[in-house]
Structures are given as C-alpha cells and as structure tokens.
C-alpha cells in the first residue's frame, strides 16, 4: 500500500501530522477490536463445556479382583486398571533397570502405598493397537503383563516394554486416589 498511486494526503515526509496520529489511533483501535472479535470465533473451536466435563472419569476399583484388570475409556482412550498380586508386584520391583528397553523403576509408575494398582494408557507405544492382558485368560506375554497381538510387543506387570518392536513403556495417565476404593483419572 506504501506506494499506491492514490494520494493519501500525508504531511511532509518525516513529519507525523495530526491527521496521521488520528489515523494511527483509529486504525490501531479498529485492529484491536477486530482481534478481540476474531478471538471469540477462534476460541469457539476449543473444546466445549460438555467435552471438558468428561475430561475426568471416576472409577470404583473395589470390584476388580486380584490378578485381574479392566479397561475404561478416558478422553477417548482405553485405560487399563489392573489389581496386581503380590507376586506380580515383586516381579515388577525386582527388575534391574539395566535390563529394561525403557528404564523406569516400578515405584515411579505407581502411587505410594498403592503398589497393587497399576493404571496405564492401554495404547501400544509401537503403532497404537490395544494390547491384551487384563483378564487372567488373556495372553499376557512372557513377563505376565500385556501382549500386543499386532506386532508382538510384550509388557511386564508394570507396563514396561520388555520385547519390541515397541520402543517405550505404556504411558501413564494423570490419576489420583480419591479414597482407597476410588480413583479419578484426568
């Protein structure tokens, strides 16, 4: 626009005339108003209140028997909640970190005083399939955790990857114990 042929009636080059200042203020105010309006339109595409309301899921864990696990949905993703037996807990804790593909201590993957509960995002870190292993009758792989039928990745009782092609441990969702009987995911 700087060199358009239309005369803009500016003052001499280098001088900011009163007319220029006024135009500047007006233009700036209009731009700010326009931006504020545009923001409301853009923000409307952010998650709506009903979607946000479902962003946390509460779960009563008392019906889950030892050695078994369930799957719940949180934010569209499968969440594994498994009630580990003392043997499974010991197996998870005794592993040497150097043996792990993705080293992480079991204690970092459970809540204090709740080692019998492991809560994981049930999406294989290879290409996104949902591994098997919640029910005792499911194939659980050689480490007693989970087995992904798509390409053969295997996870231990802490959800850590022990056999590829998956590169990383099963991810942990944000969760907390409301009481010993209830967890809130998200």
């Amino acid at each position: 626009m700087a060199d358009s042929a239309a005369t803009l009636g500016h003052g001499h080059a280098g001088e900011v005339t009163k007319r220029d200042f006024l135009k500047l203020v007006t233009g700036a105010a209009a731009a700010i108003g326009g931006a504020a309006f545009a923001w409301t339109l853009i923000d409307s595409m952010n998650p709506s209140k009903d979607v946000l309301a479902l962003s946390a899921v509460e779960l009563d864990i008392t019906p889950i028997p030892e050695g078994s696990g369930i799957t719940v949905v949180w934010q569209g993703k499968p969440i594994f909640v498994r009630h580990r037996t003392p043997t499974e807990i010991k197996q998870a804790e005794d592993v040497q970190l150097s043996q792990l593909i993705d080293p992480q201590a079991d204690s970092a993957r459970v809540k204090p005083n709740h080692a019998q509960w492991i809560v994981l995002i049930g999406i294989c870190t290879h290409l996104g399939c949902v591994p098997l292993g919640n029910k005792p009758s499911d194939p659980r792989g050689d480490w007693g955790g989970w087995f992904c039928p798509c390409h053969g990745s295997q996870y231990d009782t802490s959800g850590r990857v022990r056999h590829g092609p998956a590169p990383a441990n099963l991810a942990l969702p944000p969760y907390a114990f409301d009481t010993d009987a209830k967890i809130k995911i998200g």
């Binding site: 009636g9 009163k18 007319r19 006024l22 135009k23 203020v25 007006t26 105010a29 209009a30 108003g33 209140k49 009903d50 309301a53 479902l54 509460e58």
Partner: protein, 254 residues
C-alpha cells in the same frame, strides 16, 4: 362526510369482526420487576437457588429440563461440592450393564438433569393425556415471557359461575382459553426455604421463574457485560472514524 362515515363504519365492523378471536385470548399478564431486566440486569442468585429448590421438589415430578446439566448450576452460584452432592442424590439412566440391560446409577455433575419420564408416551400416560412441557427454555418460548409464567403460577382461581369447565381441567386467569391441564402446583408453605425467605405462593413463583429465566438464558449476565464494552468501544470508534472522515474530506468541496 358520508364517505367518512362509511369508512368509519367499515373499520368498526372490521374491528368487531376481529373480536370473536379475542375471546380465545387471556388478559395480558401484569408486568413484574425482574432482576435481570434492563441493560445492567443480573440474576438474583439467591432467588435462583431457591427457585432450583422449588423446581427440584415440585416441578420436576412432571416437567423435564433436558437442556441443563448439573454442572451448569455453577451459574447460579453453587459450588462444585454442592453440585456433586445434588447430582449424587439423583438416580439417572447410565447406559447398559455387561448383560445388555439398561442400568441406573447416581448422577454426576456431567449428567443431564433427570427427566421424570423416559419419553412422551410415558408422560402422557401419567398425566391424563397431557404432556408437561420441558421447562429449559419456556421463559423464551411463551409470549409475555417471565411475566406470563409468573401469572400462570399465581393465576389459579375458582372459575366464574358462567364458565363451563371441561372435565379434568383447571381454571387459570392467564392461560389462553382459561383451561389448563396442570393443577395448581404451588401452595403456601410448600417448600421449606433455608434462608428464612417466606415461602408464599408469590415468593415461590417469583423464585422458580427466576430460576427458569436463568435456565433459558444462562449467558445473560456475560452477554450484557460484554455488550456494554462493545457499545462503548463502538461509540469511541464512531467518534474516531468521524474525526478521520472530516480530516480526510477537509480539502474537498462537497
């Protein structure tokens, strides 16, 4: 003069011809004062909370409010704790169990308000064929708006001696045609208010109408607040653009 008289006669006759339809109408509901009216209006949250109590204890037996979720009650000043407790006390459908049978359970803040009937047919069966309308947006959905709803709630009376009532109907001063299927829902002392407000029919009606007005327009306060800022901004912009226009046009004979 003769022509004028004919015109007048025609108008009068025309007006009279319109009169029979007037008999189907009801008197205009008297104007009330509402806290949310006017450009600076807000909802009286205490009244809205009492109104929610009236809805829960009386109206919800027959009327659904499907567009509302328990989490929305934060808009009338209830805390998340209070809302969770209110929801947990209500049993709502919760999909199907592992056997495929429909199951119920306590509501959560994210649940829709509990409906008294699962569908229209069940409602009509329970209400002598009448369908209690959903109340979510009824304040917007009736001519006369809040004044009209208030007039209906306070307008139950004995029918005048010359008026023939149909069986099962109730006389109401302000309902068009004067016969409404709903029996008088509110009576003095019916709902126990905890904040000491007298629980007369007029007060309960006022409170429940406030609640329903909020339910129909929950964005009202934010809308008017933003509105003032926008109007102020535009008034300033009009002044600024007009000043620029005058300056730009100063050198043109026009």
């Amino acid at each position: 003069m003769r022509a004028l008289r004919s015109i007048f006669a025609a108008l009068l006759l025309g007006g009279l011809a319109a009169a029979p339809t007037l008999a189907q109408e009801a008197p205009t509901p008297p104007q009330q004062q509402w806290s949310w009216e006017g450009p600076f209006g807000t909802f009286d949250l205490a009244a809205a909370q009492r109104g929610f109590q009236v809805y829960s204890e009386v109206c919800s037996a027959c009327h659904s409010m499907k567009q509302l979720h328990y989490r929305d009650l934060a808009g009338i000043g209830l805390s998340l704790q209070e809302i969770t407790a209110i929801a947990a006390a209500v049993t709502v459908p919760q999909g199907v169990d592992d056997q495929g049978q429909p199951k119920e359970g306590p509501a959560t803040p994210g649940s829709q308000f509990r409906s008294p009937f699962p569908n229209e047919q069940a409602a009509r069966a329970a209400e002598n064929g009448a369908l209690p309308p959903d109340l979510s947006v009824i304040v917007n959905g009736r001519e006369g708006h809040a004044d009209y709803i208030y007039a209906i709630l306070t307008g139950f009376a004995a029918p005048p001696p010359t008026f023939t009532m149909q069986g099962g109907m109730n006389y109401n001063e302000y309902f068009p045609g004067h016969q409404i299927a709903m029996p008088q829902p509110l009576h003095d002392g019916q709902v126990a208010y905890t904040d000491g407000t007298p629980n007369t029919v007029a007060q309960m009606s006022h409170d429940v109408v406030t609640f329903m007005a909020w339910a129909a327009n929950p964005e009202l306060v934010e809308r008017k607040q933003i509105g003032w800022r926008v109007v102020l901004f535009l008034v300033v912009m009009t002044g600024l653009t007009y000043a620029v226009k005058r300056k730009v046009w100063a050198d043109v004979d026009h």
